[in-house]
């Protein structure tokens, strides 16, 4: 719990920098929310001045930053002109789809990547090791959005196995298990498109980690103890090689969130990433910055969870924290 508290306190300055950074970017944007609003609805100079006053946009920059921080402290991200709704509500509505996509892609890439990494790393230098290493390098070079299109052509257009867009069948009236199955079917292709690059990454990290652990003294000691090779591979080598992989999980969360922007756009999934693209399209900068802020919070939370997981997996962590 000491770890948790320290990490939370450490996150505050980082978040503050993100907020100020996004505010500066907002300042740099040509035009403001009033311009965007008037651009959509029309209005004369009087209305513009009036709106600027009610939204506080006539204040100096520092006052507006203070107001921005004040509203953020109340979990108020501002108002989206394009959606005519509070930004917080729009984001919260989209967030679950992104979390579902990211969560599934993480589970797939971490699970399959580490398993294949163990298969490759169990016998370093063997044929299957070289095959998986080169194969994973090739997969690692594939852009997710393009893979998404190729998968669509193959499995949606040609084979008609999976739907090519959306998160679920619209107005199907499905509920419970059948709705979950429907969503799962919609998720297969986007999860594969988003996850495969990370699968390749985790495979490579696991394999490299195992190659390093094989050289450790305790593995030689385990062999001297005469326990089964299977137990050496899984319980001694893979168990230790898993640790850097878990660290990777936290580091990659920001990248995966960025990747889901393009994947959601390819598969028309109404998530945070697709929302970001819509915000760009309608030049709704406050909405875009709200998304960035929420993403940053999400990344911090994910890293927090990963840190906890790491502390569970590595008994040495707690000790060094206590003595530090």
């Amino acid at each position: 719990m000491l770890l948790l508290r320290r990490r939370l306190i450490g996150a505050i300055p980082v978040l503050l920098i993100v907020v100020v950074g996004t505010f500066l970017l907002l300042e740099a944007a040509p035009g403001d929310a009033v311009d965007a609003y008037v651009g959509m609805t029309g209005g004369d100079a009087g209305l513009i001045a009036e709106l600027r006053q009610t939204w506080g946009l006539d204040q100096p920059a520092l006052a507006r930053l203070a107001a921005y921080l004040w509203s953020l402290a109340h979990l108020d991200l501002g108002y989206s002109v394009t959606f005519s709704r509070p930004i917080r509500d729009v984001i919260l509505e989209r967030l679950p789809n992104t979390l579902l996509l990211m969560g599934s892609a993480t589970a797939l890439s971490f699970g399959a990547g580490s398993l294949l990494g163990i298969v490759a790393g169990a016998r370093p230098g063997s044929f299957r090791d070289r095959f998986l290493s080169i194969g994973s390098l090739a997969l690692y070079a594939v852009p997710g959005f393009w893979l998404g299109l190729v998968l669509t052509v193959l499995f949606s257009v040609q084979l008609r196995w999976f739907p090519s867009s959306g998160i679920e069948t619209i107005a199907s009236g499905k509920a419970g298990v059948s709705r979950a199955l429907d969503i799962a079917q919609h998720l297969v292709l986007p999860v594969a498109a988003l996850g495969i690059i990370y699968l390749a990454l985790y495979l490579r990290v696991m394999r490299a980690g195992m190659a390093e652990i094989w050289r450790m003294d305790f593995v030689l000691a385990a062999r001297a103890k005469g326990i089964s090779r299977r137990r050496i591979v899984w319980r001694h080598v893979a168990r230790n090689a898993l640790l850097p992989l878990v660290t990777m999980l936290g580091l990659q969360s920001a990248a995966m969130l960025g990747g889901s922007v393009v994947i959601e756009s390819v598969f028309s999934i109404p998530g945070l990433g697709r929302l970001a693209q819509e915000a760009v399209g309608s030049r709704d900068t406050p909405l875009l910055l709200g998304i960035i802020l929420v993403s940053a919070v999400l990344v911090i939370l994910i890293n927090l969870v990963v840190d906890m997981l790491y502390a569970v997996l590595d008994p040495r962590v707690g000790a060094s924290e206590e003595s530090a």
């Binding site: 000691a221 385990a222 997996l313 000790a319």
Partner: protein
């Protein structure tokens, strides 16, 4: 006493970078049941390679000539079952993320055919035998929670778990400070006598070795220089190299147990 281990014309070479390096040449000796043999040499003398060769733990790509036979066994020896191995540095020879209990119990389970629950109970008994304080809670501890000496006791418990007939201690005390070193040597000595185990005590410290061993074998550059009764080697060495070893304050790499500087 029956012969437990026969090493005949053993040679080992490592291949790497297109070259072959001979690390052990034409080594022959016998080890009898319950006998304590010290293997002495500087680093690079091939003494650790000898231990790894006997345990079949040489790295891939090494070439082995000659034979290692176990006359009493009448079959190939099984690591853990027939020979126990204690490594130099217990802080790296124990798996950092597994509990002490699991690391001992897995040996018990593999060789004594016990279920996990029984194996843990057996592990607790073994921790008592190596005189670790509070064996029950040590079962649930991780290596980093123990001191260096305690870790080496755990490693010894693993090595003797299946009551092997040969115990190889490869520089098993040289990573420990001198006082702990003496305790560990005493522990090994006692266990060897209690169980009637043969001991190969590999060390660079001839003084330490002469305390524990019945016989001493001196190695240099991969060859067996001389082998004989401990008193004979210490008091009347035949080879010039052995004499120089003894003259060099009986310690080669680190201060020896008996040298006054070590205490200061």
């Amino acid at each position: 006493m029956s012969v437990r281990l026969t090493v005949e014309k053993l040679g080992v070479s490592y291949r790497g970078d297109g070259r072959e390096t001979e690390v052990l040449k034409d080594v022959s000796f016998e080890l009898r049941a319950g006998e304590r043999l010290a293997i002495i040499g500087e680093s690079g003398s091939g003494k650790s390679t000898l231990a790894l060769a006997i345990a079949g733990l040489l790295p891939a790509g090494s070439r082995v000539d000659g034979n290692v036979r176990w006359p009493e066994l009448g079959r190939q020896p099984i690591n853990g079952r027939d020979l126990g191995f204690v490594f130099q540095d217990p802080s790296s020879s124990l798996n950092p993320v597994l509990t002490i209990g699991e690391q001992i119990a897995e040996v018990v389970r593999a060789h004594l055919g016990m279920a996990w629950r029984e194996a843990y109970a057996h592990a607790e008994m073994l921790l008592g035998r190596v005189r670790l304080p509070d064996p029950a809670s040590a079962l649930r501890a991780f290596p980093h929670q123990l001191s260096g000496g305690q870790r080496q006791r755990v490693a010894i418990a693993e090595a003797i778990a299946a009551r092997p007939s040969l115990l190889i201690a490869d520089e098993a005390t040289s990573a420990l400070d001198t006082i702990v070193q003496a305790d560990i040597v005493k522990l090994i000595e006692e266990l060897v006598v209690e169980d009637g185990v043969s001991l190969m005590f590999i060390s660079h410290d001839i003084a330490l070795a002469s305390q524990i061993a019945d016989r001493i074998a001196v190695f240099r550059h991969g060859r067996l220089v001389e082998i004989g009764e401990a008193e004979q080697i210490v008091d009347a060495p035949r080879e010039a190299y052995t004499k120089s070893l003894l003259a060099a304050h009986m310690g080669l790499d680190t201060p020896s147990l008996l040298s006054p500087e070590a205490v200061a």
